[in-house]
């Protein structure tokens, strides 16, 4: 499956444009602020019904205009599907598949799988454990509806238990039998989620390791270590023995909502001991592994977006990445970069099907075919 044509009207800084794409590699070249990333965001919209960057849909309407629209023609096995997103000012977002409006946006998610690699992926290293949990939760939920179901149950039970702890602390009374009710629920759902996270990572880590070596061009030893209290004690025991602490702090201190992923390089934490380049390769490899994992469960290749990833990478690594995604195991790829000459040089040396577009203050023109 690939995006054959993209039509934009008044989306972000882009007044109106119609682009025909290569089935393989497409590059948007331009200075910072020219609007390259907006084009990727439009493509992202058509897969996830929302912006990668700005959750307020209305703010993606070009300044002074009444609406934006994004239309994409996708080719799959000889058929064309039309996906449209229209946002009028002060109206509900309209999202259509072959001109038919969706009742629920959730029905669309997964129809056009896509993986975005962007500088924001560094959050996986720098931000709190919540970001890393959200990352694996998102990936497992994609292929396992039971996981999502148990996760929702777990979060609800956690909210109830925390509310009860707070109510007890405020009223000064305490009833352990009421807390235990929620312990049971947390234990049941938490144990299932823990096992599923564990087995997902067992599949995912080797894929990730292979990509790290390709991306970094080195054979450094990388690992993702799953940290969870549930490896040491059944959750029900941890909840029981931690109750005094929980009462004092007024929230639940043990459970899978405390799980984390420790990103390691050569046996040391990446955040502290990894160089800029190593960190960059690490997150790119995680996202490429996500691409492969998604491809394996969906049965076809997701669209891959590289947003300003080549910045700060040397030409050799950029070349390696381009070679990698040119292979048949990858499908359609969109790349943004600021350096026109470098991209030109890299593609002059290949026979891979590609198109290069120049972007200047929201205007796009095709330069090389």
């Amino acid at each position: 499956m690939f995006l054959q044509q993209l039509k934009l009207t008044d989306f972000k800084n882009c007044p109106s444009t119609e682009l025909d794409f290569s089935e393989k590699i497409n590059c948007f070249i331009g200075n910072n602020g020219a609007g390259k990333t907006n084009l990727l965001d439009a493509i992202y919209y058509l897969s996830f019904c929302k912006s990668y960057f700005n959750n307020i849909d209305q703010q993606n309407i070009r300044h002074g205009c009444d609406f934006f629209s994004v239309h994409g023609h996708y080719r799959r096995n000889g058929d064309t599907d039309l996906v449209s997103c229209i946002q009028k000012r002060n109206h509900k977002k309209s999202f259509r598949f072959n001109k038919k409006e969706y009742d629920r946006l959730a029905e669309h998610i997964g129809k056009i799988p896509l993986v975005m690699i962007s500088p924001y992926d560094r959050d996986l290293i720098n931000e709190g454990s919540e970001v890393r949990r959200r990352f694996i939760d998102g990936m497992i939920s994609q292929s396992d509806p039971i996981y999502l179901d148990e996760l929702l149950k777990y979060n609800k039970a956690l909210l109830q238990r925390n509310t009860l702890l707070r109510q007890f602390a405020e009223s000064g009374r305490f009833d352990s039998s009421l807390i235990e009710l929620w312990d049971e629920q947390l234990h049941k759902a938490g144990t299932i989620l823990h096992e599923k996270r564990h087995s997902f990572l067992k599949t995912f880590i080797p894929i990730f390791g292979d990509y790290y070596n390709i991306v970094s061009g080195s054979s450094e030893e990388v690992d993702i270590v799953y940290e969870s209290g549930l490896f040491d004690h059944p959750l029900i025991n941890a909840l029981k023995s931690g109750i005094d602490k929980d009462r004092q702090l007024r929230y639940t201190t043990s459970g899978i909502h405390k799980d984390d992923l420790q990103l390691m390089i050569n046996g040391f934490p990446l955040k502290k001991f990894g160089s800029q380049g190593q960190q960059k390769s690490f997150v790119i490899a995680i996202k490429l592994a996500q691409f492969e994992y998604t491809r394996n469960i969906m049965g076809f290749k997701p669209i891959l977006l590289f947003d300003d990833i080549f910045d700060k990478l040397d030409d050799q690594r950029v070349g390696q990445l381009i070679n990698l995604v040119s292979q048949d195991s990858f499908g359609q790829v969109f790349i943004t970069d600021t350096q026109k000459q470098r991209i030109g040089r890299l593609f002059d040396a290949t026979t891979i099907d590609h198109r290069i577009f120049e972007v200047q203050s929201g205007m796009v023109k095709l330069t090389i075919e």
Binding site: A157, T163, L164, L181, E184, Q185
Partner: protein, 203 residues
């Protein structure tokens, strides 16, 4: 000056629009409809509503809505008094009665345990359930609570309180719409799941 030409109309619209699912527009439409109709229709409506509020009682045994101290189901001698079905609210009684698959008695809890909503076991009719277990000759309790984490937790709470050797405790098939999804409940499925109930084992 209000947007209505009459303060009487405005009052009626305000009262009607306090009802769930009724906005100002619908309230206005309903008020104007009543005004177009014969005056006796409105009198009959307001009389039935006043009487509903004044005379209605809750059954002192099962807490179902009733015209007398003990409701029509509890006082019906042809019903199986060994069988007790525990439900969240009155709408569940109506849904199960519609299936005609159940001939036992009910116990209406009036909610499920939900700390976030401020509902604790003492806000529910659980003490009276325990009392019934002692007084009445109940051989099987069916826990027909919503398939949510709160419904599940409430079932488990009750199970721990009432379990004993001579009592059978069962539940209806998981995933059968009861509670909020009740209006969409399919009678055949609900009926079947009441007949084919399974032992409650907190699994």
């Amino acid at each position: 000056m209000t947007e209505y030409s009459s303060i009487l109309l405005e009052n009626a619209v305000n009262e009607l629009s306090r009802l769930p699912g009724i906005g100002k527009k619908t309230a206005l439409r309903l008020s104007l409809h009543l005004l177009r109709e014969d005056k006796s229709r409105t009198e009959a409506l307001s009389r039935s509503l006043s009487l509903l509020r004044e005379k209605i009682v809750f059954c002192k045994k099962c807490h179902n809505i009733s015209d007398s101290d003990v409701c029509a189901i509890c006082s019906n001698t042809r019903r199986d008094e060994n069988l007790l079905c525990v439900v969240e609210d009155i709408r569940d009684v109506m849904a199960i009665e519609r299936t005609s698959s159940f001939n036992g008695l009910y116990h209406v809890l009036g909610g499920v345990i939900n700390p976030v909503e401020g509902i604790s076991p003492s806000d529910l009719k659980i003490t009276s359930l325990i009392d019934r277990m002692k007084i009445e000759d109940i051989k099987e309790v069916i826990l027909a609570l919503p398939a949510t984490i709160e419904g599940d937790t409430t079932s488990y709470y009750i199970y721990r309180l009432i379990k004993s050797e001579n009592l059978k405790i069962t539940t209806i098939a998981k995933g059968v719409a009861i509670g909020d999804a009740l209006e969409f409940a399919d009678e055949v499925t609900l009926g079947r799941s009441i007949m084919n109930r399974t032992p409650f084992d907190n699994g």
